[in-house]
């Protein structure tokens, strides 16, 4: 049986907006085994992004627990969770969020530098990851010189740089056209075939259909 990368049990997450309290997640339980490719779908505001943030240790639940590679995130400090994310979690955002003054190579190098990977090694590894996402000819281009699809592939390369146990992608095709979205899906499938574990929150039914399995989040609850 595959090792469980991340497991969430009975998660709730409340937010305060002014005087009112919003419950974004209501008792969600989920387990992501190694090598999984899970699509999380659902309407806007249903709690997909919140679930991803909790699985990645970006946010902390109001109640419930998240166990990442056997470690309960509730017992970890902010710094420990940041270190865990740096080494074990790759994040891909809808709007790429690349640093505009850095080249593609430097953007991918950044998490490696933060993880204190030696300069030569991190340069070689960043170049290899960019080659893996078919951007070997764009290493020294800045985000402003790249298309949306290319930027998202740089962002995916950045997420893969530290060879994480889990890649979380929040609406990764939300800013892309259909053809480019298909390229991103193909890339995810290829990465997954190579052993990368992926959880993708998306509205894109074509992307969701391309995943190994899918769950739907509606009003903070999962519908299998």
């Amino acid at each position: 049986m595959s090792e469980i990368v991340v497991a969430a049990r009975d998660l709730t997450r409340d937010y305060r907006t002014g005087r009112s309290r919003v419950r974004a997640l209501r008792g969600v339980s989920i387990a992501v085994p190694d090598g999984d490719f899970l699509a999380v779908t659902g309407p806007s505001g249903s709690g997909k992004s919140t679930l991803l943030h909790l699985l990645g240790g970006v946010d902390t639940p109001t109640s419930g627990e998240v166990v990442f590679l056997g470690r309960d995130l509730a017992g970890m400090s902010v710094e420990e969770r940041a270190a865990l994310r740096l080494e074990q979690v790759g994040l891909v955002f809808q709007r790429f969020h690349l640093l505009p003054m850095l080249t593609a190579l430097e953007n991918v190098e950044l998490p490696l530098a933060a993880a204190r990977v030696p300069r030569k090694l991190r340069r070689a590894r960043a170049a290899a990851v960019l080659e893996r996402v078919a951007l070997a000819d764009r290493l020294h281009h800045r985000p402003g010189e790249l298309s949306g699809g290319q930027c998202q592939r740089v962002a995916i390369a950045r997420a893969l740089a530290n060879e994480p146990a889990l890649v979380l992608a929040d609406e990764p095709t939300g800013e892309l056209d259909r053809a480019t979205s298909r390229q991103v899906l193909a890339l995810f499938q290829s990465l997954n075939a190579d052993g990368t574990t992926l959880v993708v929150a998306t509205h894109d039914l074509e992307l969701a259909a391309g995943a190994k399995r899918m769950i739907e989040v509606v009003d903070g609850r999962t519908i299998p």
Binding site: A82, L98, P100
Partner: protein, 301 residues
């Protein structure tokens, strides 16, 4: 280091008179008194024989005088006109105090001047160059009792007393510089905040991916310091160029060799140090604002 000189002020008023003719000439005893001060008895005004004068270059140029020209000199408007030969033209020493004066300077031999003015026993001041190592304070203390009514001062103190106007001007310059630096610092701070605002989302994303705040903080500060150093270097270039333009313009305007603007090593060092410090302060301010917020809030949660 100041040359060891002692200045001495003797007697009443300075021997200065505006002489007749179209261009008034100022008679100054100071320069010639350097070497030929001799106490003489008072006598009637008269034209000395073989009267020779030196004329300052800008006036000579304006009046078309050359060495060998003849000019008419009077000690007062009613004084006896005396023919004088221009023995030479001299370049006036650069002196900010004389920039706005329209009175040209002419140098006389002291006996000639005394004869023309009839004030043979009066000398305004003279300077004495001392051998290196002379104790000026001790010498001044020894000399003053011997010269009743006289003041013996080191040249540095004479310069200090005569430059109060320029000290005031200098304070104005300092005030302007301080205001400019404060305004520049605020401007730099605004630029840094704007730059940081532009990167709010990528920096928040970087924090979410686990890149330590410390790294992002020092990165922002280093970038601000680099930006301000580059700005400082550009400012240095602009300063040198502006200084050259100011000097060229005013030296031509006032027809002088006086240096109006100087970019010294000390000024450059202070300016660059201040620029880097201000840049780092702006970077710290901007980075603190950026990194104390919740990255999820920045991303719109």
């Amino acid at each position: 280091m100041l040359r060891p000189r002692v200045a001495k002020r003797v007697g009443k008023r300075v021997l200065k008179r505006i002489l007749p003719r179209r261009c008034a000439l100022v008679v100054s005893a100071a320069s010639i008194a350097l070497s030929t001060w001799v106490p003489l008895e008072a006598h009637a005004q008269e034209c000395p024989t073989g009267l020779e004068v030196l004329v300052e270059r800008p006036f000579a140029d304006a009046a078309g005088l050359t060495a060998g020209s003849t000019v008419v000199m009077r000690s007062t408007i009613e004084g006896e006109p005396c023919n004088a030969v221009v023995a030479g033209i001299f370049e006036p020493p650069p002196d900010p105090a004389s920039l706005n004066t329209t009175r040209p300077r002419v140098l006389f031999h002291l006996p000639h001047l005394q004869a023309m003015t009839g004030r043979g026993n009066e000398v305004d001041y003279f300077t004495v160059r001392m051998r290196p190592g002379t104790d000026l304070a001790a010498l001044a203390a020894d000399l003053e009792p011997l010269l009743p009514g006289a003041q013996v001062l080191p040249v540095s103190e004479v310069a200090e007393r005569s430059s109060t106007t320029f000290r005031v001007v200098s304070r104005f310059h300092t005030a302007i510089a301080v205001i400019t630096l404060i305004a520049g610092g605020v401007f730099l701070g605004c630029i840094m905040i704007l730059k940081v605002q532009e990167r709010r989302l990528p920096i928040a994303a970087a924090r979410l991916t686990g890149i330590p705040r410390r790294l992002l903080f020092w990165w922002t500060v280093a970038e601000a310091a680099m930006l301000s150093t580059l700005g400082g270097a550009a400012g240095f270039g602009v300063g040198v160029a502006s200084s050259a333009v100011v000097n060229a313009y005013y030296q031509r305007y006032y027809d002088t060799t006086l240096v109006f603007s100087q970019v010294t090593g000390a000024v450059v060092t202070e300016a660059l140090a201040l620029a880097v410090l201000l840049g780092m302060a702006a970077g710290v301010f901007a980075a603190t604002r950026l990194l104390t917020s919740d990255p999820l809030d920045e991303m719109g949660r």
